[in-house]
């Protein structure tokens, strides 16, 4: 018997919905998981992915990818390439491994939820491949990070980070729990594949692979490129879902996409921003974080959502202003609270580096230069105690990142201004107006407690820096420190310095 042609059987295998005789639809697709909301159930029948895949095709392709990625890895196993890598780049990879490996696993759960509760059989079929993709990403990222533990114990945080209460982890866990785990599948499809994957990681991974090659890290480039090829396929679950939701409930569609973009942008500012504008050695920087965001993320995102009939998010002006501010403040915060990190953040504020920053960000010197100058003078005065924290930064009740976004008054002064909300007999503080708005609209959600909340509730003992580091799972062998103070302070050695902490040092 002749085999059927692909187009003759594909329709059957990707659409296996059937009529129930023992239960009703609500029992199979309960609203709190399926989230159809105002969309009539039958509207989901039109859901269709643009790039169709069968299981045999999927397995064959994935097998080839796996073979290729491990072949390159095996070939590089005995090379000494790792030893020649720049510390800044290594920090970017440590941040990536720890920040991403277990998020890939959270994405497995998100994809599995769509594979079970997706409102169209084709969608569930696509999500089944998606969860296999994410499982591979979790495994490959964990393995590549694990290989480096013998060279540097900070790589142990590839797996460890998400099993701790480090403040960076809490922030990411809060974002991705909401995006991938606790939401219904319609919202997951809009937040994960559409906004985060299509909008952010798909493009970022291409850039990251290029940066890895530029830095001589062929192994990392190999890993990230292999992962990226999967994203392009499973991220297409977002488009058909958004199309249907926009038709029946455009207000919800706009809100969910806006919220996911904001959360993703905040996380990117904390991790990708410092990696691009500070950790990457000056000679390897191709574009600034702002330029990257404008070219690869913003234009693409606006084009995508407008194509579906949505508008720019309500916070657009605040977001655009933040491109000059957020990641610089977060970099300074990451550096000052460096004992809480599983990587070695370089300050990267030598004269040449500052000239580059000032060229890319005309207000940089005005907003950040004075603070770095005091830190530089303290390092040069060997007053290291003054460069280490004795309390916690205040963490935003929505994004869990430090409240460190300066804004300019009409008079020209740059200040970090308070953004608070009185609700349910307590006061909440936020890093931005949009974080406050998101908290208010989602106030009935169960939100993670910030590290400051936990500290004040007595969950962290003893209530001092040692207790905080212990609570975060931080140990002296991995605790972050600047890899080379002299590299960025020597330009300023010997200059007169006044107004430093501890009288007599000036």
């Amino acid at each position: 018997m002749a085999l059927l042609k692909r187009e003759e059987w594909q329709g059957f295998v990707r659409d296996v919905d059937w009529s129930y005789s023992y239960v009703d639809d609500e029992a199979v697709f309960p609203e709190w998981h399926a989230g159809t909301g105002k969309v009539p159930r039958e509207a989901w029948r039109t859901w269709e992915e643009s790039y169709k895949v069968s299981y045999p095709e999927y397995v064959a392709t994935q097998r080839e990818k796996e073979t290729a990625v491990y072949a390159v890895k095996a070939a590089l196993q005995r090379s000494t390439a790792f030893e020649t890598l720049n510390e800044g780049w290594k920090s970017a990879t440590k941040m990536h491994f720890g920040g991403i490996a277990l998020v890939e696993y959270a994405a497995v759960l998100g994809e599995l939820k769509m594979a079970r509760f997706g409102l169209n059989a084709s969608w569930r079929n696509m999500a089944t491949f998606g969860q296999l993709d994410e499982l591979r990403h979790n495994a490959v990222t964990t393995l590549f990070g694990h290989e480096l533990i013998t060279k540097d114990p900070q790589y142990d945080w590839t797996q460890k980070a998400f099993h701790t209460n480090d403040w960076v982890t809490i922030s990411l866990r809060n974002l991705f729990d909401n995006m991938m785990i606790t939401s219904n599948v319609v919202d997951i499809a809009l937040m994960l594949p559409l906004t985060f994957e299509t909008g952010f990681t798909n493009l970022q991974f291409i850039g990251l692979a290029a940066d890895a090659l530029e830095s001589g890290d062929v192994n990392f480039a190999n890993m990230i490129s292999s992962i990226q090829t999967d994203e392009a396929r499973h991220s297409q679950q977002g488009g058909p879902t958004l199309e249907i939701l926009v038709e029946h409930d455009p207000v919800r569609a706009q809100w969910v996409v806006d919220k996911a973009f904001w959360g993703s942008a905040r996380a990117f500012a904390a991790l990708t921003g410092p990696a691009m504008d500070y950790y990457t050695p000056l000679e390897h920087r191709k574009q600034s974080y702002r330029e990257f965001m404008e070219e690869w993320i913003i234009d693409q995102f606006v084009h995508t959502i407008e194509g579906y009939g949505l508008k720019k998010p309500w916070y657009w002006d605040e977001f655009m202003r933040g491109l000059d501010i957020w990641h610089h403040g977060l970099h300074m915060g990451l550096w000052y609270w460096r004992p809480t990190l599983w990587w070695r953040p370089t300050a990267a504020v030598s004269k040449d580096e500052r000239a580059w920053l000032a060229e890319k960000y005309p207000n940089w010197e005005k907003v950040y230069g004075d603070k770095w100058d005091v830190i530089i003078d303290n390092v040069n005065a060997n007053n290291m105690e003054a460069t280490l924290p004795e309390t916690l930064p205040w963490l935003c009740a929505t994004c869990h990142l430090p409240c460190c976004n300066a804004s300019q008054s009409r008079g020209g002064a740059w200040r970090v201004r308070d953004c608070k909300l009185e609700y349910d007999n307590r006061t909440y503080h936020f890093c931005t107006n949009a974080c406050r708005q998101i908290f208010w609209k989602d106030r009935d959600n169960v939100n993670h407690e910030t590290l400051v909340d936990r500290f004040l509730a007595g969950q962290i003992q003893p209530m001092d820096v040692g207790g905080i580091l212990g609570y975060m799972g931080m140990t002296p062998d991995v605790m972050g420190d600047d890899p080379d103070y002299e590299a960025w302070t020597k330009d300023y050695a010997g200059r007169p310095a006044s107004g430093l902490a501890n009288a007599g040092q000036s």
Partner: protein, 102 residues
């Protein structure tokens, strides 16, 4: 002292209570957690906030400091309790720089 007697006391007569503050010092880049008590004076609050920042990230200036709470400049000698500062409130500490010609 019984609980009943304690409840009758004004805030300033009770044992000092912990007041964790969200604080910013002058031009610093980040808000920080600063614990004070109801018995601390506003001048002490200014120094508690400055301790984490002054000369560490913001260059120390030879001027007195002032505390702003809810848009109001507080008198340095009054206590946190008397000023009505509550747990988790925001305070800003600024240098009181005399304007030119004054």
């Amino acid at each position: 002292m019984t609980a009943g007697q304690g409840a009758d006391l004004g805030a300033e007569d009770r044992a000092p209570e912990l007041i964790p503050l969200n604080a910013i010092f002058a031009t610093d880049f980040v808000q920080i957690l600063v614990p004070v008590t109801t018995a601390n004076t506003i001048a002490e609050v200014a120094e508690a906030v400055a301790h984490h920042v002054e000369g560490k990230r913001v260059r120390a200036l030879p001027y007195p400091k002032m505390v702003i709470h809810n848009g109001r400049r507080l008198e340095p000698e009054i206590t946190v309790a008397a000023a009505g500062i509550r747990p988790l409130d925001h305070v800003a500490v600024e240098y009181d720089i005399p304007s030119e010609g004054s």
